[in-house]
Amino acid sequence: MSRKHHPQGSSRQLGMKTRLQAWVDHHQDSFQDALRRLVRRPVGQLLSMLVIGLSLTLPITLLLTLQSARLGLNDWSQELGMVQMFLHASAGQATDGGEDAAHTLFKQLQADPRLREVRMIPPEEGLKQLAELHQFDSLLSEMKHNPLPVVIEVYPQRPEELAALRSELAARPEVASARIDAQAVERLHGLIVSAEHLLALFLLMLAPTLAITVSNTIRLELEHRVDEIRLLQLIGATSGFIRRPLLYVGGLLGLGGTLMAVVMTLFAAHALTEAMSRVGFALPLSSAPVLLLLAALPLGFVLGILAAWLASVVQMRQIRVM
C-alpha cells in the first residue's frame, strides 16, 4: 500500500461535478449490464417480449379498428341517411278523375335526378309495420280509421345534400313534416362506443401480463445471480445499486414487448383495412391512434421498470449476505 492509514477508511471528498459524472457513469454501466444480461439469453428474452407483445396486440388492434370505424361513421351516416316525409291526410285522397297528391309527388320525386331511391309507404302498410313492430295488432284492429299518414322516404345521391333536401321538401304544401332519419347510424355508433369501453377494460385486464412476464424474468435473473448479489451486499452495495441493472432489464423488456405489440398492431390494422376496402368499406387508419400507439412505448418502458422494481424488492428480501 502506498498510503498511510486514514481513520475514515475509504471515505472521500468528491466535487459536485465528479459526483455527477460518477452517477452518469454508474447509470451507463447499469444500462450496459442490463443489455449484456438480455443478450446473454436472447431466445428467452425474445420469447418474454413476444408474450407481452401478443397479449397486447389483439385488444389494441380491435380498439384501433373500432376507433377508426367510429371516425368513418360520419361518412357512413350521410350515406345511410334519408329524408322521411309525413304528408297531410288530404294528400292521400284522390281528386276527381285523377290520382291523389301523394302519388303525384312520389312520381315527381322518382324523376328527380338528385335522388338515388324513393319509397312510398301508404297508411295501410304503415299500420301493418307498426303492428309487427310493436305487437299492437289487437289494439290496432279495434281502430275504425287508420290515423297514419302517407310516408315518403327519399335517399339522396349526394349525402351532403341531405339537410338542404329536407328544407326543400318540408316547404312543399303536401308535406306536413320532414325529418332526417339517422337512427340506424346512431345505434351503430352506440354499439361501437360500448365495444370500445369493453375493449379498454379488457386491455386494462391484460396490462398485468406485462408486469407478470417482467416479474418472472427478474425473479429468474435474481435466482441466477444470488452469489453476485451476496458479494455486492458484502462489499457495501446498496439495494438501489444492486437493483438498478434489473430495473433497466425490466424497462427494456417492457419497451421491447410494447414495440412488438405496436408493430404487430400496425400490420394487423393494415391487413384489416385492406380486407374491409375489398368489400367496399373504407376503414381509415387515422394518425391519432398511430400516435397513441407510439406513446405506448415509453409507457411500456415505465411499466417494465415498475414491475422489475416490485419483483426485485420482494425477491431480494430473501437473499442474505454471504
Binding site: H5, G9, Q21, G236
Partner: protein, 220 residues
C-alpha cells in the same frame, strides 16, 4: 479499531458459536485469530461486517457500536471493511479487472480513478498482465490474489481474512502473508483467521485463540 465487549452468539438452531468474547484490536494493528475448526473463528469474523448480529454484547468498529447501526447505514459501514474468504468468490463471467473494480463501482468512483486504483492493486498482487483474463483462466493462487486485490482496492480501514491460505501451497501461503504484513505496515487494521500455526509462527503478531467459542488467549 475493532473491539468486542462480552459478545455471545447463539444461532437459531441453538448452536452456541461464541461465549462472552472480549478483545480490543487497535487501529493499524494486525492479529491472528486461531483455533481448531468449529471453534467460532468464522462466526466471530461474520459479526464485524454485520453479516450476523451478536446475541448479546457489543461490537465496536472505529468507535461505533455496530449493534446500533440502522439497516440503511450498513452498506456504508461495510465499505470500510475488506473481507477475504478462503473461497475467492469471484464472478466468473467478469474479467479480473472488473472483479477488482467492483468495490469502486459500488462507491461510485469516477472511471479514471477506478482504472488507476485497479491497476495499482493489480501491481500490488503481481497480476498486472492478467487484468483481461477471466477467473476460470487463473490458477488457485492467482484467484486468491485477485480476491485480495478486490478487498484492498477501495482502501478499507479494516481487512478481515478467513482462512485466506487454506487452498494454497506453503510457498504461496507465505507470500500472501507477507503481502498482508505490507498492508498492515501501511496502516490497515487486519484480523486474519487461520489454523495454519506453522505459517503464522514466522510472523510476529498477536494471536487470539478461540476454543469452543471462548477466547482463551489474548496477546494484545
Amino acid at each position: 479499531m475493532i473491539a468486542f465487549e462480552r459478545v455471545s452468539k447463539t444461532y437459531p438452531s441453538g448452536q452456541v458459536a461464541l461465549q462472552d468474547v472480549s478483545f480490543h484490536l487497535p487501529a493499524g494493528r494486525l492479529a491472528f485469530l486461531t483455533g481448531p475448526s468449529g471453534s467460532g473463528k468464522s462466526s466471530l469474523l461474520r459479526l464485524i461486517p454485520l453479516i450476523d448480529r451478536p446475541s448479546s454484547g457489543k461490537v465496536l468498529i472505529n468507535g461505533t457500536d455496530i449493534g446500533r447501526v440502522g439497516a440503511w447505514r450498513i452498506p456504508r459501514l461495510r465499505r470500510h471493511i475488506g473481507v477475504i474468504f478462503q473461497n475467492p468468490h469471484l464472478l466468473n463471467e467478469w474479467s479480473v479487472f472488473d472483479n477488482i473494480a467492483l468495490p469502486l463501482r459500488v462507491q461510485h468512483y469516477p472511471r479514471e480513478e477506478t482504472v488507476r486504483r485497479v491497476r495499482a492493486a493489480l501491481d500490488k498482487v503481481g497480476l498486472v498482465d492478467r487484468e483481461s483474463a477471466r477467473p476460470l483462466e487463473l490458477s488457485g493462487g492467482e484467484q486468491q490474489r485477485v480476491n485480495i486485490a478486490r478487498a484492498l482496492v477501495a482502501r478499507p480501514s479494516i481487512i478481515l481474512a478467513d482462512e485466506p491460505t487454506g487452498n494454497l501451497d506453503p510457498e504461496l501461503s507465505f507470500e500472501i502473508m507477507r503481502l498482508f504484513m505490507q498492508f498492515n505496515a501501511a496502516g490497515v487494521t487486519m484480523l486474519i483467521a487461520t489454523h495454519a500455526l506453522d505459517l503464522i509462527d514466522a510472523f510476529d503478531a498477536p494471536r487470539l485463540l478461540l476454543r469452543d467459542g471462548r477466547l482463551t488467549t489474548e496477546g494484545l
